[in-house]
């Protein structure tokens, strides 16, 4: 184990202090709502990053697992009075199982066809959900119950608790992703992403690893879905199973930096900030908020294609380039 330098410890402590203090400074329910949504989107992005970033298979249908996570929470609570603390892990397993089935069928396709196939399957799932009365159909599910014990059933009245709890989840998953980044698993995924044929000729079973990555991404996205359900306490297929949601999951990761550890987190923060503030301040112009959001997304993706996380690197390179040009006088 590496010796922890004082600098790193100080950085971690500083970040911890900021995280604890942030919800206290911005103490309105709206700010807490934004912070909670940032956490949820960060989880979504980090989950998708495994299949989209590391493995390079762009899946446009991850809303399926988001919905499965949310609905598992809700239905297990409604049918068996099961606490979400347990139900969320059951949801993860269920989503991983479904990802296994879907992945087995779809991961043989590459590139655009895979994206279209995942979109098609996501639409199918949405229609199935809308038409299944047992889980609420088009009217959705709703789990708000004031008589339940808040801690046991994760329905807090104080929004600050949500923020801290979800931040803890994000930090935990982030550390997990950081650790996974150094393992053989991610190493092989990067090899597969680089050149699948070459990786296979080196002995890596590409299909298996891609399937594992897909199942892992489904599990994490499902976790985010459970947390979303507990926060919103209501959902229906048109809120979480649309292709817009699937694309936004992709957007969050790509804007931040696809295939990096911290990229999805940054993307989630920036994107949630933009979308929530434009929604609040501009939506009475009948859709202007989404127009601004779309325009900003286009600009960011056009001019910063490697994601926001690459900005420090680019600034540094720019400075080095300028310094080098200055040192070598024009002949």
């Amino acid at each position: 184990m590496k010796k922890l330098s004082y600098k790193k410890l100080l950085l971690c402590a500083g970040i911890l202090v900021i995280l604890i203090v942030l919800p206290l400074i911005f103490n309105t329910a709206f700010s807490h709502h934004i912070m909670t949504m940032m956490c949820i989107w960060a989880l979504l992005g980090m989950g998708w990053n495994f299949i989209g970033g590391y493995a390079g298979q762009i899946s446009n249908g991850h809303a399926i697992y988001y919905a499965f996570g949310a609905y598992t929470n809700a239905m297990l609570l409604q049918w068996f009075n099961l606490s979400p603390w347990i139900a969320m892990w059951i949801g993860c397993l269920l989503s991983a199982g479904i990802a296994f089935l879907i992945g087995k069928g779809l991961l043989r396709f590459r590139g655009h066809v895979f994206a279209i196939a995942t979109m098609a399957v996501a639409e199918c799932v949405r229609l199935i959900f809308i038409n299944t009365k047992a889980i609420g159909g088009a009217t959705g599910v709703y789990i708000f119950n004031a008589e339940l014990d808040p801690a046991l059933y994760m329905q807090f009245t104080d929004t600050k608790t949500y923020v801290y709890l979800y931040m803890a989840f994000v930090v935990a998953v982030l550390l997990f992703v950081r650790w996974l980044n150094t393992t053989k698993f991610c190493y092989y995924l990067r090899a597969i992403n680089g050149n699948e044929t070459a990786a296979e000729s080196a002995g890596i079973n590409a299909a298996n690893y891609k399937l594992w990555a897909y199942m892992l991404s489904a599990a994490i996205v499902s976790l985010a879905g459970s947390l979303y359900m507990q926060f919103m306490r209501y959902t229906d297929p048109s809120m979480i199973l649309t292709s817009n949601i699937s694309m936004m999951i992709v957007l969050v990761t790509v804007m931040g930096g696809v295939g990096t550890v911290y990229g999805p987190l940054i993307g989630a923060i920036v994107l949630t900030y933009i979308s929530e503030y434009t929604r609040v301040y501009l939506s009475h112009y009948n859709g202007l908020d989404m127009v601004i959001y779309g325009v900003l997304v286009i600009l960011i993706v056009l001019f910063i294609p490697d994601g926001l996380i690459s900005i420090p690197g680019r600034i540094r390179k720019h400075r080095e380039h300028k310094a080098a040009v200055k040192e070598a006088p024009a002949k």
Partner: protein
């Protein structure tokens, strides 16, 4: 039997619209390797052009069709020059997201300017009424998309294979740099291809106004189905897109007729997934 024939007829009509959008997507995909998420929105804009031409100028949608196609051709050129040409230099994922964000901008701009209510054609049109052939009933309005789809498919085929510009576009899609070496301007080929795709979508929108409601989000459903048709038809094949669009329309209507209207889409998806499992590059794919 008559029910089946009527179902087949309706399916073909339904499939014609899908075929039109699919041809646009296939053109853009085949030439530029971009999955254009905004074709559905061009359809929607075409519908609105036709609606406003009908409301304020009293034009029948058939007459407004060249107007709509022309307007969307110009819009396609502008969008290509401003956005897509820059996007092509970046990674593929960014390209898709840019077209997705573009589709969002178009949908919500339409919502801002045109309002979100469902609209229908106001002034009377030339084609109305039905032709009753005994075994099937043909609504005259619904013939328009089918004839349009055949026309567009034929024209595109002729354009791509018999004119110089068309062959230039095909050459650019095969190898951009080699095409540049022999003197073809790849940027111009891409512009024309993209603009043509949006013009096709605009014309399809005009044809759709005869029997469909107009609202900003109308493109989204057709978009996804267009994607599936293109994936089934094969990468870059316009003919494949046309045929699989028709097949999908048929699958959709017949599933709705004989199984259950709620899961029509699943029938289509099953057809799609089965086809793509056996031929991953699509039926006519290269």
């Amino acid at each position: 039997m008559t029910v089946f024939l009527q179902g087949v007829y309706e399916g073909i009509i339904n499939g014609s619209i899908l075929a039109l959008i699919a041809m646009g997507i296939a053109l853009v995909w085949g030439v530029m390797n971009i999955l254009s998420f905004s074709q559905g929105e061009f359809l929607m804009l075409g519908m609105f052009v036709s609606y406003y031409a009908n409301r304020y100028l009293g034009l029948d949608p058939i007459v407004a069709m060249p107007l709509s196609a022309g307007a969307l051709f110009l819009l396609g050129i502008v969008i290509y020059k401003l956005i897509i040409s820059r996007a092509l230099r970046g990674p593929i994922l960014s390209q898709r997201l840019i077209t997705f964000a573009l589709s969002m901008v178009l949908v919500y701009s339409a919502q801002m300017f045109f309002g979100a209510e469902y609209k229908q054609l106001v002034n009377p049109v030339i084609f109305s009424g039905t032709i009753d052939l005994g075994f099937i009933t043909i609504a005259k309005q619904k013939l328009v998309p089918f004839i349009l789809a055949l026309l567009v498919a034929g024209l595109l085929f002729l354009f791509l294979n018999r004119t110089r510009m068309g062959k230039a576009i095909q050459a650019t899609s095969m190898d951009r740099y080699a095409a540049g070496l022999v003197g073809i301007n790849p940027d111009r080929s891409y512009t024309i291809a993209f603009a043509m795709a949006s013009a096709v979508a605009g014309a399809a929108g005009c044809a759709l106004t005869y029997y469909y409601y107009m609202f900003p989000n109308v493109g989204a459903t057709f978009q996804l189905w267009g994607f599936i048709a293109v994936a089934m038809g094969g990468f870059g094949s316009v003919t494949g897109a046309f045929l699989s669009g028709l097949v999908m329309g048929l699958a959709d209507t017949l599933t709705g007729l004989y199984v259950n209207t709620a899961i029509k889409y699943i029938g289509v998806c099953v057809v799609f997934l089965v086809t793509v499992s056996f031929r991953p590059k699509g039926i006519f794919g290269k």
